[in-house]
Amino acid sequence: MDIKATVLQILSDLTGNDVSGAMDDNLFDSGLLDSMGSVQLLLQLQSDLGINVPVSEFERSEWDTPNKIIAKAESLA
């Protein structure tokens, strides 16, 4: 399964925006993601990709752009 496409799909469902044009934009600064959104993202990663991320692994600065999230998902898959 293509991790990149899945993550982008999850992000667009979560934020209601297509983020594929702004892969290095900070999702927290722009208000597209917050703590609630982060948890939903972790749960989606678990159900769609089988990636298990404990909450304490979620260091915001490592998950704040689409590119970083894809890299994280790929490293944990």
């Binding site: 208000g31 917050d34 703590s35 939903q40 749960l43 404990p54 304490s56 979620f58």
Partner: protein
Amino acid sequence: MLTFEPYGNPTYFALLGVALLPLMIGILYGKRSRLYETLISIFFLVLTFGGPKWTQGVALIIYILYEVALTWGYAVYRKQHNSGPVFFMTVILSILPLTIVKVTPAVANGQSSLIGFLGVSYLSFRAVQTIMETRDGTLKDYQVMTFLQFMLFFPTISSGPIDRYRRFEADYRSVPDRDKYLGMIQKGVRYIFVGFLYKFILAYYFGTILMPKLQIMAMNSRGGFMDLSWPVVGYMYCYSADLFFDFAGYSLFAVGTSYLMGIETPMNFNQPWRSPNIKDFWNRWHITLSFWFRDFIYMRLVFWFMKHRVFKKPTTTANVTYIINMLVMGFWHGVTWYYITYGLFHGVALVINDAWLRYKKKHRQSIPHNGFTQVFAIFLTANMVCFSFLIFSGLLDKLWFH
């Protein structure tokens, strides 16, 4: 015997300067002396908890032994097993001393508990996160000695900032290179001097000179609607200014001193009065506390609620968790009606804030966004916050019930 409030007077700072000098020269030459660091930690802990306050010192020692036993025991247990109930029991046991300290005054006519000491609430946060990260498996290499240094790191022991075990350990195990460390010294010294301005000039003026006068005026102006009067409004702003400058000043001392010791303790305040909404305010005010609540209560509760599908809609989950999160924060401040109301107030404020942000996102075209709305948002947020601090101050309790 000498005894001090941490960062309380010039002598404390003079002693700090003398004690830190050898350590700083060491780091400049790429060396950390564990022995020396431990000795000055003990020295400053004795200054804070010794002499007439020796009972607090004894309470601290017993408390630390208790938390070491729990965290160490749990780390050993977690290598083999991972049961939910054992985890919950360990967390409950680790906050038991704090709970006793917080509940005792409410049930014993304001008497404080014998097991309390300055900093017990802040140390509990560090112990609980250590246990939680051990359970998650993100903290694999628990060391008793590192845990002790982390808990007893004297610059932040009394009131934070609340560091994280793994972040602290990474700094503590390494020595910053000379260029980086020179930058840290520069920052550290600047923080300490801004701290002087905040704590000894501004907080002194607002808190020690102005506030008692306003309080007397407010008490003498009772009788109107809910005993409110202009002096109460004045007190509200004055108390808010004092709270900010006093705590931000203390935090600057703690962070500055940490930097001089080569430890990048996280900042506690980031221009909170320019927040355009309450959500942003909590990203800027008492940051290490609010992030602790975010990471170890809010996100975990949301995760659990959503995984078990407790509520149908994500917004309901978020709202219920906001209220729980802020109520817990209220109780943590102390078991009085005004602390709990303060927590509830902020919980409700966050719920309303989120609803507004959702509405704004949907109606992006029709809602104006310009310089004026921005200034208005900042003004409204600052005043809501000041009002919440009036509740927090306990003045209303004095006005209404004394």
